[in-house]
Every structure is written in C-alpha cells, then in structure tokens.
C-alpha cells in the first residue's frame, strides 16, 4: 500500500504509522500533550476513545497525540491504566475497522498484514490459520474450536469475527509494547501524575484481614490483580477456589477481581457461583507449580494447608513459651 496519512491516523499502531512518525518526527506541543491526556482520561473513565474529525489537518496531530498518550501511559507505568487504555485503543480501532470493512477493504487488509495475520477470503467468509485463531479469540462457547470448520489448518470466520480478531490483536499489541522504557519530558510526567491520581483506590483490598495467612502464591495473584496484571485463566480459577474455601462471601471475592483489565461483574459472579456449586477442589502445590503459579517453596503440599501450617507453628510456639514460664 502506498503511504497514506489517513490510514496512519486511524491505525496509529500500524507499522506504516510508526515508520511515518520515525521519519517526520514529533513535536510535543502543549495542545498535543493536553489531547493525549484527555485521550487517556476518557479511556480510563469510559473505556473508549473519541474519534476526531476526518480531516487532513487532524490526521497528523492524531498521530502525535497517540504517540504522546503512549508516553504518558508509560510514564504512569500502572498496569490498570495500561490495561484500560489498551482495551480503549482496541475499541477505537474496531470502530474504524467496522467502517472501513464496507468502504476501504484495503485498509482492513493492511491492518491484518501489520499483525502478520493471513486472512483468506472464502465466499462471504474468511479463513485464518488455526494458531492465530487461537491466539486472538476468547475461550468461549462461541469461539470453541470443536464447533468450527477447520480444514488444512484454516478456521472459517465470519466477516464480523474477522474484525473482532483484529481488535483483539490491537489490544494484545498494546499490552505487549507498553510501558516504553525511557526518560520523559516534564509535561508528560505531570500528565501521568494527574492520571494516576484518578485511579481507583486499591489499598482497601490489600489490607484485608486474614490475608497475612494466605500462602505466597495466593498473595502474589491478589497482588497481580490489584496491579491489573492479566492473570491467566488457570490462576483466576485457582484464586477463586482458594477464596471460596477460605470462606469469603461472594461480594468480597468479586472485589478481588475488580481490577482485572477485562473485569465484568456479571461473568465473575457467575464463575465464582459455579465454582462454589460444583465444589471445585484446590489444585495441589505441584499442579500450581506446573501452571507457573507457584512462587515459593513453602512445601505445604496444597495452598489450603498453608494456613494450618503457620497457625500450627504459632500455636506450638505459644505452647512452648507457656511451658517455659511454668
């Protein structure tokens, strides 16, 4: 595709846009920084990013604003902020993709190409290599591979699903490339500071009573979640099972998951209910380790036993002290 500023402004994460910015350079004017901060604030508050007027004048600025927003997000260096921002940028791209899907197919193709995703058109549908399908679709009933047409390594997807896959690719790219490690100008750092002040308060969670009795792996997962680090599915399930077994009420458990970048109250509540109803048993330490969730050799066999172990130790110590006094 020949160079196209309109394309770059719509899809500022594309290799073409990056190349343009590298060559043209950026000027961080006060207006750009202000707009970039607004872009992030809106992303943080509503999960969206506003589209700008589709005019050549705005295109170039849009690129600068995007680059500056990434700098601010990096300066803030907060997983929750980055997670929310990635989701919002993906949604913004999704909206443009939906428009371009009917009028500028070459744009959609160029976005796919930028991610190295090889869609092929097959009648009214598209096909995509199965490993890319698995990498960019949610694990849900709708996308279950077992119910898909899979042939010669290609999975058939609808026109709409093709756009959803690209949106997810944008989100993953944003998450993987932020934060940028660099020293930023003062006005960028100040903007980052103002955004950090807007973040939901996380302290109440980590000061929950009883948490000091949780084993290291569970504490680590809670910490990751509160920092909005994406916890893999196996980790979320293990954490929920642990908390259910620790006797926490539903709302308290939901609270732990509230800062996950893709948090949905409804889904989370349902999943915890499900675990409670089906009486899922806690994975052993060995299983936790094989999932990559074990962080310390506490040798308790099962995370649920950690509590007894330390309590047991304290009891024994108290007993010994008492005997010593007698």
């Amino acid at each position: 595709m020949p160079f196209d500023l309109a394309f770059c402004s719509r899809y500022p994460f594309s290799p073409q846009a990056r190349q343009y910015v590298e060559q043209a350079g950026l000027s961080l004017t006060a207006s750009v920084v202000e707009k970039a901060e607004a872009r992030l604030r809106l992303a943080l508050e509503s999960g969206r990013i506003k589209k700008v007027a589709d005019l050549p004048d705005a295109w170039q600025e849009e690129l600068a604003v995007y680059a500056c927003a990434r700098m601010i997000a990096s300066a803030a260096n907060n997983r929750y902020l980055i997670g929310r921002y990635a989701v919002a940028e993906a949604k913004r791209a999704g909206e443009y993709l939906a428009i371009d899907d009917s009028v500028r197919q070459d744009y959609v193709e160029a976005v796919a190409e930028g991610f190295g995703i090889a869609f092929q058109k097959e009648g009214r549908q598209y096909s995509i290599p199965f490993w890319q399908y698995l990498a960019f679709t949610p694990r849900s009933y709708d996308y279950k591979l077992s119910n898909r047409q899979l042939k010669g390594g290609l999975v058939k997807v609808s026109r709409h699903e093709r756009l959803r896959i690209l949106e997810e690719a944008v989100r993953k790219r944003m998450e993987a490339t932020l934060p940028i490690k660099a020293e930023f100008p003062a006005e960028v750092k100040e903007a980052a500071g103002r955004l950090l002040a807007l973040l939901p308060r996380l302290e109440p969670i980590s000061s929950n009573v009883g948490q000091e009795n949780y084993p290291p792996c569970i504490r680590k997962m809670i910490e990751d979640l509160s920092l909005s680090l994406n916890l893999p599915h196996t980790g979320r399930v293990a954490l929920a099972i642990y908390l259910v077994n620790a006797g926490l009420p539903q709302e308290r458990i939901v609270e732990y998951f509230r800062h996950a970048p893709d948090f949905s109250e409804k889904t989370t509540t349902y999943q915890i209910e499900y675990i409670r109803r089906r009486k899922y048993s806690m994975p052993s330490c060995q299983t936790m380790d094989s999932y990559g969730l074990c962080v310390a050799d506490c040798r308790c066999g099962n995370p649920l036993r950690f509590r007894d172990r330390i309590h047991g130790a304290i009891l024994r110590r108290l007993e010994a002290e008492r005997k010593g006094k007698e």
């Binding site: 990498a135 591979l145 899979l150 290609l154 999932y291 990559g292 962080v295």
Partner: protein, 377 residues
C-alpha cells in the same frame, strides 16, 4: 547439581542385583545411543529410578555430550525432557525458568486390558491404529500439518508420543492447547452448530466441509451403504432412488430431500453415536501441559527395557520387535510371577510359571527384569 549425583551414588550401593544389572546395561546403551533432543540447552530434564519415573527434575544439560556423560555415569531408568524451552531450565520454582515456547505433543496409550503389564499384540495394534487415525483424520487434514512435521515416537511402554516442533505452534498457551485437544476429542461439539432450519427445510454440513460437520456428513454418506443403518433412519431409504436422492442433496448441504420423520432427533442420535472424536484415546492433559516432562526420544524405558525409538513409519511397526535393544548374550532368570507366552525381539518364550528358571536371550530377560516379573537366577 552435585546433590543429584551424590544421591545416585548412595542409591547404587543398596540397589538390588536386578537394578544394578539394568543400570549397567542402560549405561552401556547410552555410550553410543542416538537420542533426539533438539535445543537441548533450553530443556529441563527429569531422571527416574527403580521406584519413581521422575526422581530428580530441574536438570539442565548444556550439550548432548554433557547429557550423554550423565546418562552413562548415572544410568537413570527413565529419562524425560520438557516439551518446553526455557531461558533457565534448572531454575525453580517453575516461573523462574522463564518459559519461552513449547512443542505440541500428543500422548496415546493402549487401552486397559486383561493382558495387564505384559501388553499384548492386539493392544499394541489398537493403539497403533489410533495413532494413525490421529495423524490421518485430524493432524493432517484438519490442522494442516505435513506428515514430515509430525515426529512419532514409541513411548517405551504402551503407546506413542507425537511431537510437533513447528514454529507456528510454539507460543500457544495452555488454553489454546486445551482447545486443540478438545477439538481432537470432540469435547464441546454440538449438533446445533452444524444444522439449522431455513423455513421448514433442514440444512447441514456437506462432505467437503471442514470440522465435525464435514466428518459427520462423510461418515453418514458412507453408512448409507449399510441397510440396517438406512432403516434406522427411514423406511424410504430401502429404495435405491431415494438413497441417491438424499446423498446428492447432502452434497449441497440439504438434509431434507426425502422427508424423514423426526429427522432432527434421528440425526442428532447418529451424530452422537458415531463417536467422530478421539475422546479417551489421547490424554488431553498432556497436550495442554506447556511444561510437561515427556520420555526423551531415543531413551530407555525402565519398565520394559525397550527404547523409546523414533518411529519413521507406523506401517508395520511392532514395539516388541522394533523397540528391543539388548540383542547380545543371554541371562538365566527366575520368574517371580506367571508370565504368559511372549515374543520379544522375534524370540518366543513362555508361558513360565512362578518360581521357574529359564535361560533367555538378553532382550527377553531384560524385559522381564524391568517388568519386575523376574530376578537374576
């Protein structure tokens, strides 16, 4: 890793004569054995002994020569390597290893059978057929792997391991691999996803479709040659013309050309009865485990004395013949339990009663010693 060697040496002293003999034989095998461990420096190794298949893990080997040296000196009874590649294979806990990528593997085992630990020829034949089915009905046509990308390996015991090392699958996470296993097992397949009505007409898959829709359409067309099957669907299918009419309309995805009573219920029943997936044939947990330790190709299996040999072609592969390695010499053994008539490395022997002594070719004797079914006489 001084501790591991130290413990190994201590164990050698109080090992039984059988274990000592087996380790001596294994050690000599590893002097010149060919084993396959691509990117050896990034894999974690696990060694097993007389009691446990993995006694020591988190072992790292910088080169083939280093690994060979350890295999010769320690002669573990089982050698596993990680399907994963790590930055620091010997670090622990697991997260510190820094997972980079992993091969995609499939594990097939012979079914439970009265032959017990002396896996019989029929059981080996069954699992061989399943391995062929996995490759020819799933991995090649559906997933698009070439036969050259799939390394088949005898597990050393009762089945086969398939290793796929292609770049495309290396970075797939646990959940993605679970999806692949679920697909192969047919987990989550639902009839509704492949059939739908437009107006009153029932539409469904054509034989050329990918996925379970196509599998069902093809199996269904094939079964139209079977009168009993046809009758269970509709009396109309007694007639040649009606059969042809249905067959040619299915080719277009129209499943409603001849008016079958309760068509959806009947088709759904057939869909479920046909067992188009491989549920229970592969171990989905092995495929999903991105840090699984699996028998190293070319290593020996301490429970059989066979080598986990790479299988160039499954056609005509017989484990009891082609995986036996100790072909020189003979040994007098005393049988500790009843042993059925067997054939190892082309030599028939048995049945042998408990307490009976026999002088057997080395491969047969090693097989019985490893099975803990005999002692050195």
């Amino acid at each position: 890793m001084g501790t591991v060697e130290g413990e190994g040496a201590k164990r050698a002293e109080d090992a039984c004569p059988e274990e000592r003999l087996i380790r001596k034989m294994f050690s000599s095998y590893y002097r010149s054995a060919h084993f396959e461990a691509p990117q050896i420096e990034k894999r974690e190794f696990g060694f097993g002994g007389w009691e446990k298949k993995i006694e020591f893990r988190h072992i790292k080997a910088k080169s083939e020569a280093e690994l060979r040296g350890r295999l010769v000196s320690e002669a573990p009874l089982y050698v596993s390597y990680s399907v994963a590649y790590y930055e620091f294979p010997d670090a622990r806990p697991m997260v510190r290893k820094n997972w980079l990528s992993a091969d995609l593997v499939f594990d097939l085992d012979a079914p439970q059978h009265t032959c017990g630990k002396f896996t019989c020829a029929e059981c080996f034949e069954k699992v061989r057929q399943e391995a062929i089915r996995l490759i020819e009905d799933f991995l090649v046509p559906d997933f698009g792997f070439s036969r050259g990308e799939i390394s088949v390996n005898f597990s050393g015991s009762r089945g086969y391991h398939l290793h796929i090392r292609s770049q495309s699958i290396q970075r797939l996470d646990r959940e993605a691999r679970r999806e692949i296993a679920d697909y192969i097992c047919g987990v989550g397949v639902s009839f509704e996803r492949f059939f739908w009505t437009e107006g009153k007409k029932l539409f469904g898959p054509t034989p050329s479709d990918g996925g379970y829709g196509g599998k069902f359409a093809r199996a269904f067309m094939e079964r139209l040659g079977d009168d009993e099957f046809c009758l269970s669907i509709s009396r109309r299918l007694k007639s040649r013309e009606e059969k042809d009419r249905l067959a040619s309309s299915i080719m277009q995805g129209n499943w409603d050309s001849i008016g079958i009573a309760a068509r959806e219920r009947k088709l759904r029943e057939k869909f479920e009865q046909m067992r188009l997936g491989m549920a229970g044939k592969i171990d989905a947990n092995v495929t999903a485990d991105i840090s699984k330790l699996i028998r190293m190709p070319g290593s020996l299996h301490g429970g059989s004395g066979f080598a986990a040999v790479p299988v160039r072609s499954l056609e005509g592969f017989e484990p009891m013949r082609h995986a036996a390695v100790f072909l020189d010499g003979e040994l007098r053994v005393k049988v500790a339990e009843r042993v059925p008539a067997l054939e190892v490395a082309g030599v028939r022997f048995g049945p042998l009663e408990q307490g009976e002594c026999a002088t057997l070719p080395m491969a047969c004797a090693m097989y019985l010693l490893c099975k803990k079914a005999a002692v050195v006489a």
